[in-house]
């Protein structure tokens, strides 16, 4: 047990990466066991991340790759934020890998599993790194794997969405790289803590321009308002397990990168007015577009845009309550949206169509799946015993604690967005349970391998919703790490 505690956090990135490249070799032996490799890999990741958790809460772990000391090395900074996201990514990756045991049956399965593990390796790398170019490399691993996975099924819609996503994503990556180049040319170092200690004011042009370039580049993946044109197409044409990972992890990791760059490197925890309005606009546009959709996955994708707007709003309140509310809402969104996409995956498979009108009466045919879908819906809207209530309440309390009229008006608009969200979700629930369907088949429930991950997500939602103190032990240090960049610099550079 002691050896387990002393494990180097590098294994969180190295093991899925190694296993991803092991899959073709294992396929030569037997085709049936390759779908178990992601399951084992992310089970290992979850165990390691959870066992690192108590150690990280005492003090941040800095891993120096190559033995040099910062700022001359690439280092991993495993702080409360990093380990929170790593646990979230590992648990979601593990559960969706179990779901994919029964869901991915056609197409080139081997490539699906390789790309899946690479996507989650990239995501874990982004959240754990402390070096800006390393962020770019892992971000690219994440993005390129998701371009390929969106096109996985090979249908017309998938290829079209994937090429659009690719073009927009590559422009974003190029902007990010220009920003990194400008920062390196000015400060001579690539280490996040080193740059953070040398930036004096963000208002001078030579620091403002890289900041804007990097936020735009990362914001394309994070799906902030003007940059999210790729999202509805990409998330609705991907296979459902990949939609769950894209909505639940990829855009949140993109948003984490934006937050890390803004709060830690540039240190702007006090003038985020622009993001306040951008968040509210994103929320309204996402919810209003979702209201008019007929295709369920497109509706869930627009709902993701709305939730990202809410999280951006929470982060730009720039107080410890606001930041922990934003992190909590990220947890809520990952768990609920992944549950919704997984449940709708099997519902689409059984009815054969993605239109909401074909879901009439499906509540009687697949009772457990629809019950879990309903739990996900309630949590996303923010109804009481679920985690959405605690997180939205934290955000509202943070906004009202600012005391100014502007925040009160914006919270009013945010709550209007929540009402619209409730409207379209309740419309689906009403169709599922209370509409009469013509065919009276007996119950054909989803397979067990599909139900288990949905059960675990739902029970996590219920558990964290009933005992939010369980999570606030991590949220408070995480919010403190983001708000206070001097502590971060001191723990890395000594």
């Amino acid at each position: 047990m002691n050896e387990l505690i002393d494990l180097n956090p590098v294994v969180l990135i190295a093991v899925p990466l190694g296993l991803a490249f092991l899959v073709p070799l294992v396929e030569l032996i037997s085709k049936k066991i390759i779908k178990w490799i992601p399951v084992l890999g992310f089970l290992f990741n979850t165990v390691i991340a959870l066992s690192l958790l108590p150690r990280v809460l005492k003090e941040t772990i800095i891993v120096k790759i190559g033995g040099f000391s910062p700022p001359f090395c690439i280092n991993l900074v495993v702080g409360p934020v990093g380990i929170l996201f790593s646990v979230l990514i590992s648990i979601t990756g593990f559960l969706v890998a179990i779901y994919a045991l029964k869901y991915i049956k056609e197409g080139a399965e081997q490539k699906y599993h390789i790309l899946y593990m690479l996507l989650l390796t990239g995501a874990t790398g982004v959240v754990l790194t402390g070096d800006i170019f390393n962020l770019f490399v892992f971000f690219e691993v994440l993005c390129i794997s998701s371009y390929a996975l969106v096109a996985y099924l090979g249908y017309k819609t998938g290829i079209e969405s994937s090429i659009k996503y690719l073009i927009q994503g590559s422009i974003g990556s190029s902007f990010l790289l220009i920003g990194i180049g400008l920062l390196y040319g000015q400060f001579g170092t690539l280490n996040m803590a080193d740059i953070a200690s040398q930036i004096e004011s963000v208002h001078s042009v030579s620091v403002f321009v890289p900041m804007i370039l990097m936020i735009t580049g990362l914001g394309i993946e994070a799906a902030i308002f003007p940059l999210n044109a790729w999202l509805p197409d990409a998330h609705s044409s991907a296979p459902s397990s990949i939609s769950a990972i894209l909505s639940g992890i990829a855009i949140e990791v993109g948003l984490y990168a934006v937050i890390r760059v803004l709060f830690t490197i540039f240190g702007v925890s006090n003038f985020l007015m622009f993001f306040l309005f951008l968040g509210v606009i994103t929320l309204l546009i996402g919810e209003m577009c979702a209201f008019s959709q007929e295709n369920i996955k497109r509706m869930l994708a627009y709902s993701s845009i709305g939730q990202i707007g809410l999280i951006v709003f929470a982060f730009s309140i720039a107080s410890p309550f606001g930041v922990s509310g934003g992190l909590f809402q990220m947890i809520n969104h990952t768990l609920s949206k992944a549950l919704l996409f997984l449940a709708s995956g099997f519902m689409i498979y059984k009815t054969g169509s993605m239109k909401i009108s074909s879901f009439e009466g499906i509540g009687r045919k697949m009772p457990l799946t629809c019950l879990l879908f309903t739990i996900g819906t309630f949590s996303l809207i923010g109804l009481p015993p679920f985690v959405g209530f605690a997180s939205k309440f934290m955000i509202i309390r943070a906004a009202l604690a600012q005391g100014e009229l502007l925040y009160t008006i914006l919270i009013g608009i945010v709550l209007i967005g929540t009402i619209i969200e409730g409207a379209y979700f309740f419309r689906i629930i009403q169709r599922m349970y209370f509409a009469h369907s013509n065919d009276i088949n007996q119950k054909e429930e989803s397979p067990v391998a599909g139900l288990i991950p949905m059960f675990v997500f739902a029970s996590l939602i219920l558990f964290i919703g009933l005992y939010p103190d369980f999570v606030s032990k991590i949220l408070n240090p995480a919010a403190a790490e983001l708000m206070d960049k001097i502590d971060y610099i001191r723990s890395v550079l000594g």
């Binding site: 170019f133 690719l166 190029s174």
Partner: protein
């Protein structure tokens, strides 16, 4: 003016390539031209980063014999960054072109204004 040009010609050229690449990606309708624009954009970015490390009359940053002056060597870190970025650009280009082949098989055209299956 000429002095400014002489000192900063690499940056001007690199940003020129970036802007040309962006213009092509925004305004052209044929998918292959958009992908060529992407390639030009990435070339411009890589050129910009390499020229950050350039020293006037500098030598290669390799200790080929002892006693070489470190102050006269160009900066090797941007060169490492650009190597990585070139390979990433290569991978994206390969993926884009294979997706283009599949797209042509499905739609029969590469005109982006006709490939609009998914609307609102």
């Amino acid at each position: 003016m000429i002095n400014f040009l002489q000192n900063h010609i690499f940056y001007i050229g690199a940003f020129g390539l970036i802007l040309i690449g962006l213009f092509i990606m925004i305004s052209k309708r044929n998918l292959i031209k958009v992908i060529i624009g992407l390639s030009i954009l990435e070339t411009g970015v890589n050129l910009f980063i390499v020229s950050l490390g350039y020293l006037h009359k500098g030598t290669a940053p390799i200790f080929s014999k002892s006693g070489l002056d470190v102050q006269k060597m160009v900066d090797p870190v941007p060169q490492a960054l650009v190597l990585t970025a070139i390979v990433i650009g290569l991978a994206v280009l390969a993926l884009a072109l294979s997706l283009t082949i599949r797209l042509y098989n499905h739609f029969g055209t590469l005109n982006l204004q006709k490939i609009k299956e998914q609307k609102w």
